[in-house]
Symmetry: C2
Subunit: 456 residues, 2 copies
């Protein structure tokens, strides 16, 4: 047994208790009311790095939520691994669907239930505990830096400025991110790509005030109806996206690539059973894995307008709103697609209404080359940790800062995600398996050892 | 000057103060939390009838909110006028758009601002004060009964049972309702019809929980997108309603009728300016007055689903909801149209989602014959009160109990509305002009006198 496995066994309850402590902080980056919690959480992350054996760690203010930076430098001759993660979490609502409080973590049936348990506190904390393990067992074979930000869930609006101003501080040989999933614990996989993101909010205004739907209904444009027509026009009957130019820059996968993807295990019956759906859904001509991996999508994230309370109100509302986001694949550009989305919604607005579109955030798609040292070291670590060859997959989610890191720091990124798609990310009852948490802490040191060896 | 005009002049401040007191009670029938307020309001209405000189008045419980009944019987040989009105009001939200509290009535620029000021507390209270005026000035020429209910805004679910059980109590020669509008105070008009109503709520469910829009987006049906497509499919490009059979029973107006309607004054420029819109909107081939008068409509009253808070959340929601209502014209049937709406939304649900439709409430359309004694008496009263011939118009709103009264009591209904379309019914900053309030109290006694004379 590895010396670090023994260390983990002796400390596993404390590792868990520390994570639960971190999960108790409601670090929701989207909510102004949680601003103070963001600072509390950043300080806690900093303290955890120091406690784990980092030489130094600091909370660095930005115009938004602070960034935590820490490092453990063992030898300038050794390669440096930069761990990126985020301590901010998604909003927890709808609260009524949680079986226990989103910020009152509990362990049930071997799983940690809490907002952020998987995305991403539980995952970046594996690296903190792996650092501690390697330091205490004298097995650290690389230098390590940590960049843990507090704005990933709102599109990292202040990270670019930070990275550009701190190129030396962030200097490294590879970036590792644990913010993705595996196919399953029995079928380890490594994401070789994440999708990009464009996120907009559309506001449709009809009359200057809410009206009586009997007195004015039928004679004044209804912003909900107009918005519904706009949304309906975004996909055709085959669920292709109809926004002009949307697919222009999409790199189509070769039939070879698609054949390989088709070999990844997928059990449609249990997928449907888990989600409680009668049938899957999506763009005609593509499989479920392809729809979430190699194809761009356009999803409605929220909609509201008019009377939404108990009972009935015969109102013709003044306004209706929608939150809409697209997931992008290489070589789509988030900047270009956001512009196309905004232009589209403005252009289809009929005369009776005004349409205002605001931009929430975006990020470019990113792919990791499989022949890179980083990928090879990650694959070797998975083999050591899991005893199986990892399957390369393309993830559906987005980590908007990947292309920024690559262009600003000249670094490749490797994804070592230990979550599961079914971990209810961004949903009520987010969870993280204890097995995955401990397996991650055990596997990460293999990565450092392989990366150091392969970099020689 | 009429003796009752003098009495009003001497008591006008008290009349107003009493109405403001009534407007302070948040009698929102749709909200469970206001249940106690409904009883408080019913008691206040009962007390006001006694104070105004009614022989008796009572608060009568129903399975929902209570009904207030009161009467002043002067002579069995004289005709009896039954006043119908409602003390319940619409919900007040969105609260943030009110310039003063919806239940903190204020008088600004000669207008009373409060929820219910026009719809319908301010209007039925004119009849209470007209009763007082006629009693105190010995000018009452009819018997009067009052039936003031507390569930009009939620579709009067318990009124039918009450009417059927109390035919003797409600026995009368005509029903008068002040719950509609005039074209303007310079252009008095009488509604000769109200539209019917069908009101449903549609719930679309995709997956059994909210999902990460990156991990599942594009592969699982999005209930907001599906709901938007369903809503979009309800109207064609000419804004005709596409629901099968929707227009089957519509009595088309003759070109003669439409020509007459076209003579009612309508200033499109000021209509648009008042509403802050660039252009009117609606069914092709019909004017604005026709769209709200002789044509049925289908309006979205509310929509919600997914993340509707501050900032962004990349969620693929489990559910989306819409509140949808149709306004109906003769000879459409609310029961039939509601069934068609429910059937339509169920039938177009694609495989990836489940659709549940609930029925809120409905009511049949109603027309008053212009050759009736009731209409003729109302027209004569308007001539006396305003010095002008009233224009007959078809109102866009609904008073669902009209057809019930006609069928159960064998009575014709006359609408004497003193509100204005621009009174922000069902909207923030509902108002009622003091001028209209006092003019109504002054005009109503003319109606009683004419009706008594014409009934001889």
């Amino acid at each position: 047994m590895q010396v670090w496995k023994t260390y983990q066994e002796e400390n596993k309850q404390r590792f868990l208790d520390e994570l639960l402590q971190l999960l108790r902080i409601p670090s929701i980056s989207a909510r102004t009311e949680n601003k103070a919690d963001m600072f509390v959480c950043a300080e806690a992350v900093k303290d955890s790095l120091i406690k784990a054996g980092a030489d130094s760690a600091e909370v660095i203010p930005t115009e938004g939520h602070p960034i935590v930076f820490g490092e453990k430098l063992v030898d300038p001759a050794k390669p440096t691994v930069l761990v990126y993660g985020h301590y901010d979490v998604q909003p927890a609502d709808p609260l009524e669907l949680w079986h226990s409080g989103p910020f009152e973590p509990v362990v049930r049936d071997g799983k940690i239930y809490a907002r952020g348990s998987c995305d991403d506190k539980g995952q970046f904390y594996m690296h903190v505990k792996a650092l501690e393990t390697m330091v205490r067992t004298n097995t650290l074979s690389t230098n390590i830096k940590f960049c843990i930000e507090g704005e990933e869930e709102v599109g990292s609006p202040n990270l670019a400025k930070f990275v550009k101003a701190n190129r030396d501080k962030l200097k490294a040989d590879v970036i590792i991110i644990s913010d993705t999933a595996m196919l399953s614990m029995d079928t380890p996989s490594i994401d070789i790509g994440v999708r990009g993101l464009s996120y907009i909010e559309v506001e449709v205004t009809g009359a200057n005030r809410d009206l009586h739907s009997g007195v004015y209904g039928g004679a004044v444009a209804n912003p909900i109806t107009i918005l519904a027509k706009m949304i309906a026009s975004c996909h055709d009957a085959d669920n292709h996206i109809t926004i002009p130019g949307f697919y222009d820059d999409v790199v189509e996968s070769t039939s070879e690539e698609r054949k390989k993807m088709g070999q990844a295990p997928f059990d449609e019956a249990s997928y449907k059973k888990d989600l409680g759906i009668q049938s899957v859904w999506g763009e005609k001509g593509y499989s479920t894995h392809e729809r979430t991996g190699i194809r761009p999508t356009l999803e409605l994230n929220g909609i509201w307008g008019g009377y939404t309370g108990e009972g009935s109100k015969t109102v013709l509302p003044s306004k209706a709103f929608a939150k809409i986001s697209a997931r992008l694949v290489p070589d789509q550009s988030s900047v270009k697609i956001t512009a196309k989305l905004i232009e589209y919604f403005r252009s289809i607005a009929p005369n009776g209404v005004t349409v205002n579109v605001i931009e929430h955030h975006g990020g470019e798609p990113y792919m990791t080359p499989m022949d890179s040292v980083a990928y090879q070291a990650a694959a070797a670590a998975i083999r050591d940790g899991f005893g199986k060859e990892p399957i390369p997959v393309r993830g559906g989610g987005s980590i908007p800062i990947c292309s920024l890191f690559e262009s600003e720091l000249g670094l490749k990124i490797v994804f070592m995600g230990f979550g599961l798609d079914s971990d209810n990310l961004h949903s009520p009852n987010e969870k993280f398996d204890l097995f995955n948490f401990y397996k991650g802490i055990e596997t990460i040191p293999f990565f450092h050892r392989h990366f150091a060896e392969m970099s020689k």
